[in-house]
Amino acid sequence: MKKSTKLLCSFILIIAAVGLLYYLDNNHIKYLYAISILERSAIFAIVAVSMNLLNGFTGLFSLGQAGFMAIGAYTVSVITIPVGIRQSVYYASGINSFIAKIELPLPLALLLGGLFAALVAALIGIPVLRLKSDYLAIATLGFSEIIRALLASPQLAKITNGSYGLNKIPKYSSIFVPFGIATICIATMVLLIRSSFGRAFLAIREDEIAAEAMGINLFKHKELSFIISSFFTGIGGGLLAVYMQSIDSSTFKIGITYDILLIVVLGGMGSVTGSVFAAFLVTASREWLRFFDDPLTIGGFQVPLFRAGFRMVVFSVLLMIVVLFYRQGIMGTREFSWDGIFRFFVNLPKRFMKKKKAGGTANER
């Protein structure tokens, strides 16, 4: 495929995407549901890519996402709730006089949320990044629980409103806000992965000892990866707070980390486009699969399995199938490219024939 053709294809794709968003934004009353799904997907795409940066590219299995999202979300909420209505939000415990008068526009608030998350990550990283694999996972998970407990504690009630949570967070002015920010964040991370830092991260993932022998400062790069990942996770959390308009500490339980992990695994550990694609796929299919939750009657006969909660069972069974049989996920460690798509379609008939001959056991590795 020629370079100009590829460029043209990408150009058409971007135009189509922007056009679609523009159309949805103009008719937002009609497409409220679709818009909300897309916004959620975009937010989860940021968080999934930042988790992938840490887990897939640097090989540090961290489960602390929920905590960093909480920091971002609380920071953004505290400083974007309009000053005028703050008293009604903090009706129970009163408000800290210092933060009572600070109100920042959303982009600045998001930046601040990300910076706070990064700062906390820097502090946590110093002790925690000395640990490896499962110990690192459980320690980061622990920190995320500690952060959550602190945010909900009565001692911080004047800032975080304790267990009441925060509400009346102003919503997005248009669908372009979350998508614009998501694009900027993901593009930054892609640039980072392609830089010399990114190469160092990959080297650490492949072999720590070899990486160190090549002169890569292990701790410095691990810490850097952890901080950057947390920064973008914090921004994602802030966006989620604006999306949900009301948050409390139970929003950021371990479950949300597992949801993001699911996206990353499904998309392929070590593939940015895979994570983005999976974020949209998972968020959208959660809605598509909603018909599993409704009672289904075929010709007067009520199918017994279909009732509330069945959707999540189907969903988790699908996840287990991916984990057990398609460990690479959708993309593996590959990235989206027009060449790949082109090759896929050219080889499709051949692959199909081969699979038939081999008896359908074409599992990789």
């Binding site: 996972a137 320690a139 001692q155």
Partner: protein, 309 residues
């Protein structure tokens, strides 16, 4: 500084506490510790052999709670308990066969993700089957009857839990140290591949480990939920994580270590709740974990090993 002020007020509360209250809290803590210890053993044994945090163990424990509710609905308690134990063992072994065995040779991250996937599946499955609303835990008359030693009074289960924990641990230690299967387990946990070359049937040993782990989780679940009165699909997550922390605290792979770890965690937590810091009682667990990992990563009773941390 809040942490210091918290510490000071805890110290103050300690000084002004009467002996009876102190002992009463100790008793509650020890009882909770017994249940934690039983669950922590399951983690420590599986980790010792497979090098895997069995994230689904907390969910196995929760499912045992539901098994008890449904078996007690039809049969009396002395029949229900064996049924629950058998059901839990079947569940544990099935999970091992279906979710862990096929990817045993895969990178550790994949197995861990598989474990998280199983715990996700069990949570969603039980939400679907039993709804997310808390279900009342049936009362076992013998365990619920009130019981007194001196000034301390509590339900019988509170006194009974530490006793049965100790008995089970002693039995388990005998099994590990003095039987053939126990020797095989020790061999597998020392060196997986060499054990296989020596003719040990790895699959049987691993399944047996899950049998023991699930058995203890079932017993722990009965003792734990009898005191808590209700079960929800999410009531296994946090105890599960805490018990893993207990296992790390005691030194992962060591059974007595897991028991001690369970008791330390539970007593600490009970006192924090008693002093009115229940928001921090979960955080306390993880603070303890992190301090332990930094100061002495092999835990209190762990063997010296370089590849662990």
């Amino acid at each position: 500084m809040p942490p210091i002020s918290i510490f000071m007020s805890i110290l103050e509360a300690f000084c002004f506490m009467s002996l009876t209250t102190f002992l009463q809290h100790c008793l509650t803590g020890i009882s909770l510790g017994g249940a934690y210890a039983l669950i922590a053993i399951g983690y420590t044994m599986v980790y010792g052999i497979l090098r895997l945090i069995n994230f689904a163990h907390g969910e196995i424990f929760m499912m045992a709670g539901y098994f008890m509710i449904f078996s007690m609905a039809t049969v009396p308690w002395y029949l229900a308990i064996p049924i629950v134990i058998l059901g839990t063992i079947a569940l544990g072994v099935t999970i091992e066969r279906v979710a862990y065995k096929p990817i045993r040779t895969a990178p550790r991250m994949s197995i861990m993700i598989s474990a998280i996937g199983v715990s996700y599946l069990l949570q969603n499955l039980s939400t679907y089957l039993f709804t997310a609303l808390p279900r009342g835990y049936p009362e076992i008359p013998v365990l619920k009857s009130s019981f007194k030693i001196g000034p301390l009074s509590s339900s019988f289960v509170t006194f009974f839990t530490p006793v049965i924990t100790i008995l089970l641990v002693i039995a388990l230690m005998q099994l590990i140290n003095h039987t053939k299967i126990g020797m095989a387990m020790r061999a597998v946990s020392k060196d997986y591949e060499t054990a296989q070359l020596m003719g040990i049937k790895i699959n049987n040993v691993i399944s047996f480990t899950f049998v023991i782990g699930s058995f203890l989780a079932a017993v722990g679940s009965i003792l734990y939920f009898t005191d808590r009165m209700s079960v929800t699909p999410f009531s296994g997550t946090l105890p599960g994580l805490k018990c893993f922390v207990a296992a790390v605290l005691g030194g992962i792979g060591s059974v007595p270590g897991a028991v001690i770890g369970g008791f330390i965690l539970a007593i600490g937590e009970t006192f924090l709740v008693a002093f009115g810091y229940s928001t921090f009682s979960d955080a306390f667990t993880f603070v303890l974990l992190i301090v332990m990992l930094l100061v002495r990563p092999t835990g209190l009773f762990g063997e010296k090993a370089t590849d662990k941390v």
